[in-house]
Each structure stands twice: as C-alpha cells, then as structure tokens.
C-alpha cells in the first residue's frame, strides 16, 4: 500500500490521459461559463448600455423639439408685432380716407343747400316781380279809370296793360 501511495508521475512529463482530462474540463468550463457567466453578464451590460443610449437619444430629441418650438414661437411673436403694426397702419389709413370723404360730403351738401337757397331766392324774386306787375297793372287801371272816369271794359284794359308791361319788360 505504501508503494502505491508513493507513486508519482514524472516532474516534467506529458500524460496523454491528463491532457484529455484537461481538454474535457476546458470544454465543459467553456460551455458552462459562456452560458452562465459571459453571455448573461455581457447581455446585461449591453442592454443597459442600450437603455442609457436610448435615454440620451430621447433627451436629445426632446431638447431639439423644445428648441424648435421655442424658435417657432419667437418667430410668431416677432411676426405678431409686425402684424399688429400693419393692422394699426391700415386702420389709420382707412380713418384718414373716411375723414376726407366726410369732409367732401359735407362740402357737397353745403354747396347743394346754397344752390337750393339761391334757386328759392330767384323764385321769390320772380314771384315778387309778378306781384309788383299785377299791382302796377291794377294801379294803372285804377288811375286810368279815374282819369277817364268812365267804366271801361276791365278785361280789355287788363290785356292792354299786360301787353304794355311785357313790352316794357322785354325792352328793359
């Protein structure tokens, strides 16, 4: 038994069976470690990396969106100032036009009124002239009647006097 336990292999030597054991162990270890250690840990690292990358991408995208929106609003605001100015200008121009129109209308109205007044004056004048004519003829008739003291045919005389006055009017 002593001799059996004291059996050693050579210090520097190759035992083919030990090599086979080494290969088997290496192969078994390779499959187990790959399945248990390297693959799952690597996958975990990769998936976490991917998640972080995604998060950063998302944040970057949101930031870009916000910046775009901000630029858009700023532009709109600047535009709004311009627009209001434009509206104001247009309103002022419109008001000016309206003012001119009102003035013109007033002028026209005044002119019209004046004209009508003048016409009326003319008419009154004519009427007054006619009245004067009638009175003058009546007076002439009365005077003539008094002069000749004779009742003459009034109608005939009136026509006569009218003719006379018209001739006078045409002459004057």
């Amino acid at each position: 038994m002593k001799g059996f336990l004291d059996a050693f292999e050579g210090f520097v030597g190759v035992n083919f069976w030990t090599m086979i054991f080494a290969w088997c162990n290496l192969l078994i270890l390779y499959f187990f470690l790959r399945k248990l250690l390297f693959k799952p840990v690597k996958n975990m690292i990769d998936s976490r990396q991917k998640e972080v990358d995604d998060m950063y991408d998302e944040a970057e995208a949101s930031r870009k969106d916000a910046a775009e929106m901000k630029a858009e609003y700023e532009e709109k605001l600047a535009h709004a100032g311009e627009e209001s100015e434009e509206i104001l200008k247009r309103a002022v121009r419109k008001a000016q036009l309206r003012e001119e129109e009102i003035l013109r209308e007033a002028d026209e109205k005044a002119a019209r009124t004046l004209k009508r007044a003048q016409e009326q004056v003319e008419l009154e004048k004519k009427r007054a002239i006619n009245e004067v004519k009638n009175e003058v003829s009546d007076m002439a008739l009365g005077i003539a009647a008094a002069v000749i003291e004779r009742d003459i045919d009034k109608k005939e005389h009136e026509a006569m006097i009218d003719d006379f006055i018209r001739q006078m009017g045409e002459a004057s």
């Binding site: 059996a7 292999e9 030990t18 054991f21 162990n25 270890l29 470690l33 390297f38 840990v41 975990m44």
Partner: protein, 251 residues
C-alpha cells in the same frame, strides 16, 4: 532533510487502455471546473439592471475581458471572448488551487498547459484554413522565401511548446522553489534548536516555516499565477487574432 521534486501524485490507476492515471492534476482540474461553475452560477443568479455590489465587480471583470479581446483581436473577433475568459480563469484558478497545499496546481503539470497550448494551435490552424484556404495556409510556410520553410515549420511547432513550457515552468518552478525554501527553513530551525534536548526538539515545529513563505507565495502564486494566465491568454488572442483578419470592408 530530503527534498524530493516530483510530479503529481498518482491516486489510482484505472486498469484500461494501458492504465489511466488519476493524479492530483486530474482532481485539481475537476475541483477548478466545479468551483468555477458553482461560482459563476451564484454570481450571475440575480442579474438586474440596477446592479448590486457583487454584480458591479462581475460586470467590470467581464467588460474588461471583452475590452481586452476587442483591443487585441478586433471587434469582429469578440466571439472568442468567452473562450479567452475560460482559459484565463482555468489558468489562474488552476494555479491558485496549489496554494491550498492539498491540491496541486493544475498548471504545474505539463500535460495541462500543453493541452491548452494545443487548443490554441488548433484554433489558429482552423481559422487560418477557414479564412485563407488550405493552400494559402500551406503556402504561408514558404514565406517570405522558400528557404525559410523549415524554420517556419519549426516555429509553428515551437509555438505551442514554448507556451506550454513557459506556463508550466513558471508555476512548477515556483512550487519547487517554495519546497526548497520550506526545506531550508526546516533545516535552519533544527540547526538553531539542536542544543535542546531531543524530547523537546522532536516536538518543536520548524518555527521558521511560519510567515516567511507567505511573502514568497504572494509572488510565486498570486503574482506569477496572474501574469502567466494573462500571458497565456494574450498569446492565444494574438495568435488566433492573426488568423482572423478583419472583414474586407473594415480594412
């Protein structure tokens, strides 16, 4: 004081195929395999997006491995990372189990390092033939000039042999040195306490063996074990990476 430098102890010989030796190395290999599988099972049992302390360490180590493989072999060769990691862990744990003094370092057995080195050579040849074609691979031996062919063949054979001996030599040499120093310290103890009566001297332990070898162990087991595992993995990466050039569009 006798100091014997021996290979792995043979526990049992299976009496088939001319005798299969179950040695210390065989047992150590099995222990390392089981230990690593159990460790990785427990370390990666509850992987979460928000890692705990243990997961941070494991993730850091795994990403370091992938980073090293990417730096050495290129992004297109990341599929080799699990094998490189397995090789590295097998090597470093194989060396470290020797520190238990019960088990023998697996890497202190030339059979193991030679087996691993031959896997590297097989990967190199396989990928060379796959990527360049059998004839181009054969033709590679005649470059840069035909006269170099014998040299190239020798260097091709020397590659796994040198890898295997480098790793084996470092670990086994370390263990031999440790054994020698233990012997020397025991001799020193008995020399210094030889004036004591035999009764006391025979029960007094070799006190100088306490403490001093621990510092040597830091170098021979921890440092050398780590460096040799790294060197072996790096050489594998370089050789296999050379056989797997980047795809044409990446050039």
């Amino acid at each position: 004081m006798d100091i014997s430098v021996t290979g792995p102890k043979i526990y049992y010989t299976i009496p088939i195929f001319g005798g299969i030796n179950i040695t210390q190395t065989t047992v150590s290999l099995l222990v390392v395999t089981v230990l690593l599988i159990v460790l990785s099972y427990f370390l990666t049992r509850n992987l979460t997006k928000r890692p705990g302390r243990m997961q941070v360490v494991v993730e850091k180590l795994v990403s370091m491995l992938y980073g090293l493989v990417e730096d050495t072999m290129g992004k297109h060769n990341l599929k080799f990372a699990p094998y490189i990691g397995t090789l590295f862990l097998s090597s470093i744990f194989g060396t470290l189990v020797g520190m238990t003094q019960i088990l023998r370092s697996t890497t202190a057995d030339l059979s193991v390092t030679l087996a691993w080195a031959l896997v590297t050579t097989a990967l190199v040849w396989y990928n060379n033939i796959k990527n360049f074609g059998f004839l181009a691979w054969l033709k590679g031996f005649t470059e840069p000039i035909v006269v170099m062919t014998p040299m190239n063949i020798v260097s091709e054979i020397a590659q796994p042999v040198s890898m295997a001996f480098r790793h084996f030599g470092n670990v086994a040499g370390g263990s031999v040195l440790t054994a020698l120093i233990y012997g020397a310290l025991a001799a020193l103890s008995s020399a210094l306490f030889s004036w004591l009566p035999d009764v006391i001297g025979s029960v007094l332990p070799p006190v100088f063996q306490v403490g001093i070898p621990a510092f040597l162990s830091i170098y021979f087991d921890l440092f050398s074990g780590f460096v040799q595992a790294l060197v072996f993995s790096l050489l594998t990466m370089v050789y296999v990476g050379g056989a797997c050039p980047p795809p044409a569009e990446e050039k």
